[in-house]
């Protein structure tokens, strides 16, 4: 299973943001498959129940926006980190909020990286490219490690 390529699961309600994120990921030279969900319900269904989803099929990286139309990204984060199979899946929180308390909460819940979507495009692109670096470095660990 460890040789599976990492799927990127992007939970982002804003199509524009999603497109920008994808463009920058590709620009950073990351070719992993990206699955995009615009609401929490569908994303959770994929995460937990889809045969192709990370719970049943291999490693994934989750890009999570906190402001979703049907639920808070924080709830999704909590569910992922409470699940035995999914809790080791890296979660990158990507959102416009730079409120210290909210960042703290995300880390408390087990978020691996917290990235504020900057309005300044250069830094945004840089952040995404760093994410690419991050992606190339991590080797998603086997379930059951440690």
């Amino acid at each position: 299973m460890s040789e599976h390529s990492v799927n990127i699961i992007m939970i982002e309600d804003d199509e524009g943001h999603a497109r920008l994120i994808e463009k920058n990921i590709r620009r950073a030279g990351i070719a992993n498959a990206i699955r995009h969900f615009v609401d929490g319900t569908k994303a959770l269904a994929h995460l937990f129940d889809d045969p192709d989803g990370p719970a049943r099929n291999g490693p994934a990286l989750i890009l999570l926006d906190l402001n979703l139309p049907d639920m808070s990204g924080i709830d999704i984060l909590a569910k992922i980190k409470a699940d035995a199979k999914l809790r080791r899946t890296p979660v990158v929180v990507l959102t416009t909020t730079d409120d210290k308390q909210e960042i703290q909460r995300c880390y408390d819940l087990g978020a691996n990286v917290y990235i504020t979507k900057p309005v300044n495009y250069e830094s945004f692109a840089k952040a995404i490219q760093q994410l690419g670096l991050f992606l190339s470095v991590i080797q998603v660990p086997e379930v059951g490690e440690g």
């Binding site: 943001h17 463009k23 300044n120 495009y121 692109a125």
Partner: protein
């Protein structure tokens, strides 16, 4: 009718005064009536005394006569001694009558007649007795006795005394009637006085009772109002906190949701910008190789595109700054206040030190007045307010004169007033409210800024339960007056 009314109080006071004056008058009248009654009574007694004295004189005279006759008849020594005793007592009895009737001229005339009669009777009696004492003259004495005038004088005496007694009885009747009248008057006066006393006491009691009842009622009312007020204040405070929370949430949500599309605008503008280079290159090449292919619009677009993108960037950047400002305000509003004892002088001095380099550049000075009143408030908020005001003073100084800022504080009742006064370019009175509004600025726009500082200062002041006002006119410098509760109550403000 309210007992607390000024008019009513005056009326009650007047009535009480009248009551007491009447009471005094009645007391005086009673005293006079009692004295009159006493005088009348003493006159009645006096009449009785006169009558008694007259009776005594009559008896003495009769006894004297009897003693003489007895002696003349029997020459008995007992009769003689009786005669002597009576004859000795008579002048005293007569004197008594004279003394008692000194006030009555009519009776005085009668008394004089009686005195004469008594005297002549006494003399004739004395004569008779002296003769009788020598035995040889006894017969002569008997003869004298039968012819002397004593019989007549006795008769006149009886008549005169009778007249006197009648006169006294008339007087007695008169005086008794007067005494009765005086008694009646006294009784009436006493009754009236008694009634008045009862009336005044009753009135006073009524007023006291009414006042007490009224006082109780107003106390109850006050208690009820107080409770109502507390409830109203609590309800209002809760309402305000709710409204404040709502505004905070609104600001928070708006700033976040506005940022989201802005990320897109910026992102895709950058994408657009990235396409300029290859497009420009393409147009340039086409222009060189096949100029016929390049239209005038295409050449125009080559120049317009970077300009348009430049404007979009500048605008989105400004919008980002504004949204961040709103976010900062909303965050400040949600920060938990922690009241602490603040040394205003030290805090202001620290702010002055932090802007020392700017002061050096512009050649200005900041005076911190000593002493400053003690203040219990949120240190961070106070620091932000004061540094904002001081930075503004430096920013909007008047270049024509060296900057001078005076920071002073004083206590007014339950509040602490802090003044930050500068000699800068001043603010026109029409702008005194405007400058505190978000994104609004006043005066010549020659300084960078978004119009956030004073809006932030006012929001902080409100949060601390305070107010900030501006006192200034154009060209005259400006004083920002911060009024804060001396002790911040975090129960009341959230």
């Amino acid at each position: 009718m309210t007992l607390t009314g000024r008019g009513f109080r005056r009326a009650v006071l007047g009535a009480m005064l009248v009551g007491f004056v009447l009471l005094l008058t009645a007391g005086g009248a009673a005293l006079l009536a009692a004295r009159e009654s006493q005088v009348r009574s003493s006159w009645v007694v006096h009449t009785f005394e006169v009558e008694r004295a007259l009776d005594r004189l009559t008896i003495l005279t009769e006894q004297l006569e009897t003693a003489r006759r007895g002696y003349l008849l029997w020459h008995h020594d007992t009769a003689l001694s009786n005669y002597r005793a009576r004859s000795h007592d008579i002048p005293a009895a007569l004197d008594e009558i004279t003394r008692l009737t000194r006030d009555n001229p009519e009776q005085r005339v009668r008394v004089a007649a009686i005195a004469r009669l008594v005297e002549s009777h006494r003399r004739s009696v004395q004569q008779t007795v002296e003769r009788a004492e020598s035995a040889n003259l006894a017969v002569r004495a008997m003869a004298d006795f039968s012819v002397d005038e004593s019989f007549f004088s006795m008769r006149s005496l009886r008549t005169t005394i009778g007249a006197m007694k009648r006169a006294e009885e008339a007087l007695l009747a008169e005086r008794t009637a007067a005494e009765d009248r005086a008694g009646l008057v006294l009784n009436v006066v006493l009754s009236v006085t008694g009634a008045l006393v009862l009336l005044v006491i009753g009135g006073a009691l009524w007023v006291v009772l009414r006042y007490t009842a009224d006082l109780d009622r107003s106390q109850d009312e006050l208690r009820r109002l107080n409770t109502g007020l507390e409830e109203a204040v609590a309800a209002r405070t809760a309402e305000l906190s709710r409204a404040n929370e709502e505004i905070q949430r609104f600001a928070y949500i708006v700033s976040h949701d506005l940022r989201s599309p802005l990320v897109n605008v910026m992102g895709f503008t950058a994408e657009l910008e990235a396409t300029i280079a290859p497009l420009t290159e393409l147009i340039d090449r086409a222009d060189a190789e096949a100029p016929a292919l390049v239209s005038r619009e295409a050449r125009g677009a080559k120049a317009d595109l970077p300009e348009a993108i430049g404007f979009i960037r500048a605008s989105t950047q400004k919008m980002d700054r504004l949204i961040n400002a709103i976010l900062r305000l909303s965050r400040e509003g949600r920060r938990t206040l922690s009241p602490a004892s603040i040394d205003l002088a030290a805090l202001t001095a620290a702010i002055r030190d932090s802007v020392q380099h700017r002061l050096g550049e512009v050649g200005g000075a900041i005076d911190v007045a000593q002493p400053m009143p003690p203040l219990v408030s949120d240190r961070l908020a106070i620091e932000q307010i004061l540094s904002n005001l001081i930075e503004n003073a430096i920013k909007y100084r008047d270049p024509a004169r060296p900057l001078h800022v005076a920071v002073s504080g004083r206590r007014e009742g339950e509040r602490v007033i802090v003044d930050v006064a500068d000699n800068g370019r001043g603010i026109a009175p029409a702008d005194h409210e405007r400058i505190f509004e978000l994104f609004r600025r006043a005066g010549v726009q020659d300084q960078p800024g978004e119009g956030l500082g004073l809006a932030h200062v006012r929001a902080l002041a409100y949060r601390l339960g305070g107010v900030i006002t501006c006192i200034s006119s154009l060209g005259q410098g400006a004083t920002f007056r911060l009024s804060l509760p001396a002790v911040l109550d975090t129960e009341g403000v959230r």
